[in-house]
Symmetry: C2
Subunit: 209 residues, 2 copies
């Protein structure tokens, strides 16, 4: 069966998003610079640059291989409404998913088909139903819980996350949206699977035990 995984960038102080990120322009509370400092390692990778049509060049080392393997394994994405709302105005016309994307929301809306293979489906029946749909459409590939933090927390609380992949960057946000918040006791159990020490982030991979 396809795996359910999380793959995110995290600040050293545990934030997925700096304060102000959902509130306005990149200058607001300096969130753009903070986000850039956390995700700088990704923007350098050849595979990521190709996927977002950032132009030629980019790193081709083990971090790039990791990014490529991660992208290729995804058969469907699940995300929250806030992440979708931000992306709807920020993603390019060809949204960078190239899979079905299930958006957890209370809003009813028809599927939104984008060029390049991304279709957004709006699911009103909760995270378990979204996962059921995502699995069906993933065609044997894996399901990524894309974010935001609150959606990842819902799946952690349902103990449905098989693999947790964190790119831990040495930046302090000093505020924002924490990845680990509202996770209820006893919490899921993870073990260390792999560590890849990149120059700008440490790539930590945990699997459910």
């Amino acid at each position: 069966m396809s795996k359910v995984f999380v793959n995110i960038g995290l600040s050293l102080d545990g934030y997925m998003a700096p304060e102000g990120m959902t509130m306005g322009k990149p200058e607001y509370k300096n969130w753009g610079a903070k986000w850039g400092a956390m995700m700088g390692w990704l923007v350098k990778q050849k595979h990521f640059r190709e996927n977002l049509k950032f132009g030629p060049g980019g790193d081709t080392g083990p971090v790039n291989d990791l990014v490529k393997r991660t992208m290729e394994r995804i058969g469907a994405n699940i995300m929250g409404k806030r992440m979708f709302d931000q992306g709807e105005v920020a993603w390019p016309e060809e949204a960078p998913f190239h899979t079905p994307v299930y958006v957890l929301t209370h809003t009813k809306r028809e599927p939104w088909v984008r060029p390049g293979g991304t279709t957004f489906y709006f699911v009103n029946d909760g995270p378990e139903r979204a996962l059921e749909l995502a699995r069906k459409s993933a065609g044997g590939r894996d399901v990524r819980i894309s974010g935001g933090a609150d959606v990842i927390q819902q799946y952690l609380n349902l103990n449905l996350v098989d693999e947790l992949e964190i790119a831990l960057a040495p930046v302090l946000f000093c505020g924002g949206r924490r990845l680990f918040e509202n996770v209820r006791e006893p919490g899921p159990k993870f073990g260390i699977d792999k560590v890849l020490a990149g120059p700008d982030a440490t790539h930590l991979r945990y699997v459910r035990q």
Copy 2:
């Protein structure tokens, strides 16, 4: 000049201590088991076992070497009153520091000399004064900010931490004392220095930039 460093165990969700740790016996909110799961890697190491007279045996690999180097570099420790109060009743007669220890407190108290080279000094004049005294007594070796979280946060906010060493264990505490809380903008700047991937914890070393 001697370096100021932090070397701590951290849960994957960012806690230095599980909820309830300062409140009672290890059964309380299961904090003893949680703490044990986070620090299990350390208790296995030969050098740590020798230092605490836990008996013979123990791992002798790269993690043990790391523990040994860390212990040997410490010329003085600084800790908060809460950590001291807990330790005062829990440490063995020969407290496991073997250096001067500066305790940040409002309480006035004469130095407390323990067998084995540990003397606790009670400093009433704040973290900068404690560091000044610690540096003087460290004899060229380094000063460790031992904890708790609030004391580490004070030194982070003063931008006095040269090196941040974190043993990140794949356990979720779901509550407790967070390492990164109350750190004020813009926060200190760290870069990745070294990563040692142990089987039970990932040893992350950051240096101030």
